[in-house]
C-alpha cells in the first residue's frame, strides 16, 4: 500500500503503474456513498415528474447565484487538495499545509453560504415540510452539507498530520483527498438537479 508513495518520491506521478491512491477502504466508502446519492438523484427526478409544475415554481424561489458560488468553491477546494497531495509527495510540507488551509477555507465558505441560504428560506417561511420540492431540497443539501462537515474534519486531521509527514505518508493524504473529492463531485450533480433542471 505504501508502494505508491515510495515510487512517487522518485518518479513523477504521471508515470506510475496501476495503483489506487490512498486506502482501498476509503474507495469502498466513496463508491457506497455515490451509489446512494445516485439513488437520491434518480428518485428526485422520478418524484419531480409527478408534480413538475410545483417543483418548477418552487425551484424558482432558490438562490441560483449561491448555488453557483458554492459549486465553484468546492471545485476550487478540490483543486487545492490535488495540489496539496502533489506537494506531500514531493516533500513540500509547508506548501501542502497552505493548500490544505485554503481548501478548508473554501469548504467553510460553502457551509457559510449554505447557512445563509437556509436562513433566507426559513425567513420566507419555507421549510422541509412546505412541499415535496423543499423536502428534497433541504434533505439532500442537508445530507450533503453533513458530508462537507465530515470532510472539513478530515482536512483538519490532515493539517494536523502534515508537519511530521514524509512522502511515504502520502497514502493518508490521498485517502483524505479522495473523500473530499467525493464531497465535491456529489455537489456537482446536486446543484444542477435541484437548481437548474426544469
Amino acid at each position: 500500500m505504501n508502494e505508491r508513495a515510495a515510487v512517487a518520491s522518485s518518479v513523477a506521478p504521471g508515470r506510475l503503474a496501476k495503483v489506487l491512491p490512498g486506502e482501498e477502504g476509503v474507495w469502498i466508502l466513496v463508491l457506497g456513498d455515490m451509489i446512494v446519492f445516485g439513488l437520491f438523484f434518480i428518485t428526485y427526478l422520478y418524484y419531480r415528474a409527478q408534480e413538475a409544475d410545483l417543483f418548477d415554481r418552487s425551484q424558482a424561489l432558490l438562490n441560483r447565484d449561491f448555488g453557483v458560488i458554492n459549486t465553484l468553491l468546492l471545485l476550487t477546494s478540490s483543486w487545492f487538495v490535488v495540489m496539496a497531495v502533489e506537494a506531500v509527495r514531493e516533500g513540500r510540507n509547508r506548501r501542502a499545509k497552505t493548500l490544505l488551509r485554503l481548501a478548508f477555507l473554501c469548504g467553510a465558505g460553502f457551509c457559510g453560504i449554505k447557512a445563509l441560504e437556509y436562513t433566507q428560506k426559513f425567513r420566507e417561511g419555507l421549510t422541509l415540510v412546505t412541499n415535496d420540492f423543499f423536502m428534497y431540497y433541504f434533505m439532500y443539501t442537508g445530507i450533503h452539507v453533513l458530508h462537507v462537515a465530515i470532510g472539513l474534519g478530515v482536512l483538519i486531521f490532515l493539517m494536523h498530520k502534515i508537519d511530521a509527514a514524509r512522502p511515504q505518508d502520502a497514502p493518508v493524504f490521498e485517502s483524505g483527498a479522495t473523500f473530499w473529492h467525493m464531497v465535491d463531485l456529489l455537489w456537482i450533480m446536486l446543484f444542477p438537479l435541484l437548481y437548474l433542471v426544469r
Binding site: 506510475l16 489506487l20 445516485g38 438523484f41 456537482i188
Partner: protein
C-alpha cells in the same frame, strides 16, 4: 507560484470552472426559449455535470492510474446514473 500553473490539476480546474459557468448560463437563460429548448437545456446541464464528475474521478481522484476494476466500477456508475437520469427525465 509557477508550480500553481504547472500543476496538472490547474487546466482541469479551469475546464471545470468554465463548464460550471456554461451550465449556469444554460440553466438560467430564459430569453425567448421555447419549451423544447428548456428540456434540451436540462438534459445538457445534467450531462455536463456527469462529464465534470468524470473529470474529477479520472484526473483529480487519479482513477486514470488505478487498477481497471476500480476505474471500471466508477465509469459504470457514471454511465448508469447518466442513462437513468436522462431516461427518467424524458420518460416519466
Amino acid at each position: 507560484m509557477e508550480w500553481l500553473i504547472r500543476s496538472k490539476a490547474t487546466p482541469i480546474w479551469a475546464l471545470l470552472f468554465a463548464a460550471t459557468c456554461m451550465s449556469w448560463a444554460l440553466g438560467t437563460c430564459r430569453a425567448a426559449r421555447s419549451g423544447v429548448s428548456l428540456e434540451l437545456a436540462s438534459i445538457a446541464v445534467m450531462l455536463i455535470a456527469m462529464i465534470k464528475i468524470r473529470f474529477v474521478l479520472i484526473h483529480f481522484m487519479e482513477l486514470k492510474h488505478a487498477p481497471w476494476i476500480w476505474r471500471g466500477l466508477f465509469e459504470a456508475w457514471v454511465a448508469c446514473v447518466s442513462i437513468a437520469l436522462v431516461t427518467t427525465y424524458l420518460l416519466i
